[in-house]
Amino acid sequence: MSRVRTRAPLWLLLPAAVVLGGLFLYPMYQLGLLSVLDFTQAQVSGGQPTRFVGAENYTRLLTDSRFWDVLLATVLFAAACVLATLAVGAGLAVLLTRVSRIPRLMLSLAAMAAWAVPAVSGSTTWMFLFDTDLGFVNQLFGIEGFNWLYDRYTAFGLVGAVVVWASFPFVMVTLYAGIEAVPKSVLEAAALDGAGTWRTFWQILVPILRPVLAIVVIQSIIWDFKVFTQIWVMTRGGGLAGQNLTLNVYAYQQAFASSEYGRGAAIGVVMMLILLAVTVVYLRALRRSGEQL
């Protein structure tokens, strides 16, 4: 189509703009608005007028030790998941380059299968595997009467395992494609110079793959920071006494369980700001990798 000045792109973009404007931008504006209102069940049902409270939701949030506790848990949980996902994904990507055809096919098919499993059914399956009495894992290792989801750390660990299980395939596949694209001559030269596997990985592959790595890391951070379904399903909405809450679940719970919509919105805004910061880093990584938009 022509490159002359025309209104055609506007018409083509219009449907997308309408949908995204109505269901992305407007709700984002509303989220910001709700976060500065006193908006609870009374206002929803129209019993009381909506009141502008300024930064009150935020100040209450920031002085609440619970919030800081949840924030810390979220960051640590996401960090652990990202690290584990990357370690497993990168390790298996390197492994894939060194095995014969059949094992490679098996491993990539298995990873694809894990990738495809919906979060809800993945969670339920792992819950059954780790069930107190009927779980295969407890029976296999002879652990009696131990409920993995009662303890805060084992519960987080189990949820993290499901998250890693479902997200390492993306890292593996992406990095494997990257490694395969590295010119063989570079690796041969390294081998001739006497570099071992470990050294080749850290000093040749990692620097060459840095742009891809950056993207994989940031994508993982964004995904793992937003984990919702697994936590909600496995810990029944945040665990005993909310010990397994993350920011996402906390916001949801505040809004829809406690009807503190304004407060929930404020948590949502905080989360959005954190992810926005990560996104800016992502965009800069893209630009540095020579991406032309």
Binding site: V19, A113, V173, G178, N248, M272, L276, L293
Partner: protein, 378 residues
């Protein structure tokens, strides 16, 4: 060396088995008879498979209905978001206009927005819309279709962009020279060529809508008939005793369709990811995305090359009908007769991986990769 490889092979197979074990366990538990499920001595096999659990799930709890609901929502989302994304992707790749980059970055940022945080305003939005338009309020499938269309859109556009830009401009120009209007170019030329890419995008949209738990939970509050699979599945969790047989059967029903879908199109998925995470960045992974895209986008066998370097860069003529004719013409126009049968490596353009251009591949047909077809040019 040999032994080392054997060890690594075994390790890889073991990891594959561990990875796939939960899925095996899910399906196995779904077909285990009730007695074995409640046994304190679970065995990783069953000698008496039974479909009791499935029967319980489908008959007693009307799971078929939820399956259908999920399917309807997902298919509608796929259709609408695919269409809108196609139009937007064309606008973003075929035209240069002001704020183009801004629009692109907006779509990228939109992918990062924690949609979970938007549930709160969206809940009120959907409630208010429901007052005006009856079909899309709370407790309706329409509400789910609406939000999922919006949330799959940024990624779909971002991914389709790669597929559209892989179609050479010469095609559009040839069509326009032949007097095709803009609409004809869009539907008769671009749409058929992007169809394989659209299929890849559809899988992502489908899975997104199919897997969604959050919005189903938020919007479908009281209308049990309009529930979708993920919520319906949680019915089997009971405070006193979970019906694990039914849970696993329901999980299998939810997983297996997606699993088959995913495995069938897996290569295209990987190729499509190139559009999102830019696997095909110059330094490295590029070929992963680009090569797959070229190889698996079916009829489109375009070998990109830098303009003005002497070698023809264009699609290979193929296909019937108007699009095919135009495609043939597009090839013929820029090509110089002398290049047929010439094989060579195009120098990297902006640091891209060298692209091999093979005349002979062009003559014999595009479906085969230049390198596999013409070993001579290796």
């Amino acid at each position: 060396m040999r032994a080392g490889r054997r060890v690594l092979d075994i390790v890889a197979v073991l990891i594959a088995l561990v990875t796939v074990f939960p899925i095996y366990w899910m399906v196995l538990s779904a077909v285990k008879p009730a007695g074995e499920i409640q046994s304190l001595d679970q065995r990783p096999w069953t000698l008496a498979p039974s479909l009791d659990a499935f029967r319980r799930v489908l008959a007693v709890n009307d799971f078929g209905r939820y399956l259908l609901n999920s399917l309807i929502v997902a298919l509608v989302v796929v259709a609408i978001s695919g269409l809108i994304a196609f139009l937007a992707a064309v606008a973003l790749t075929r035209f240069r206009f002001r704020f183009r980059t801004t629009v692109l970055v907006t779509f990228l940022i939109a992918q990062m927005v924690p949609i979970e945080a938007l549930t709160i305003p969206l809940f009120f939005l959907v409630r208010d819309i429901g007052g005006v338009v009856p079909g899309v309020g709370l407790n309706t499938l329409g509400a789910l279709m609406l939000v999922h269309t919006a949330f799959t859109l940024p990624f779909a556009i971002w991914m389709l962009r790669g597929f559209v830009s892989a179609i050479p401009d010469e095609l559009d120009e040839a069509a326009q020279l032949d007097g095709a209007g803009r609409f004809t170019v869009l539907w008769r030329i671009l749409f058929p060529l992007v169809a394989p890419g659209l299929a890849a995008v559809s899988v992502f949209s489908f899975i997104h809508a199919w897997n969604d738990f959050l919005f189903a939970r938020t919007f479908i509050i009281s209308e049990a008939d309009n529930q979708t699979l993920p919520m319906a599945l949680l019915v089997f969790f009971k405070p006193d005793e979970n019906d694990w047989g039914a849970i696993m059967a329901a999980s299998s029903l939810m997983t297996v369709p997606v699993l088959i879908f995913f495995l069938v199109v897996r290569r295209r998925l990987v190729a499509g990811l190139g559009g999102r995470s830019r696997i095909d960045t110059p330094t490295s992974c590029g070929t992963g995305g680009a090569r797959h895209r070229r190889r698996f986008s079916g009829r489109l066998a375009h070998r990109p090359g830098p303009p003005g370097r002497g070698l023809p860069a264009g699609p290979v003529a193929r296909g019937r009908g108007a699009a095919g004719r135009l495609r043939r013409r597009a090839v013929l126009r820029p090509a110089d007769p002398g290049t047929t049968g010439v094989a060579g490596t195009v120098r990297p353009h902006r640091g891209r991986t060298p692209v091999r251009v093979a005349g002979c591949a062009a003559r014999r047909g595009p479906a085969l990769h230049a390198r596999t077809r013409c070993p001579a040019i290796r």
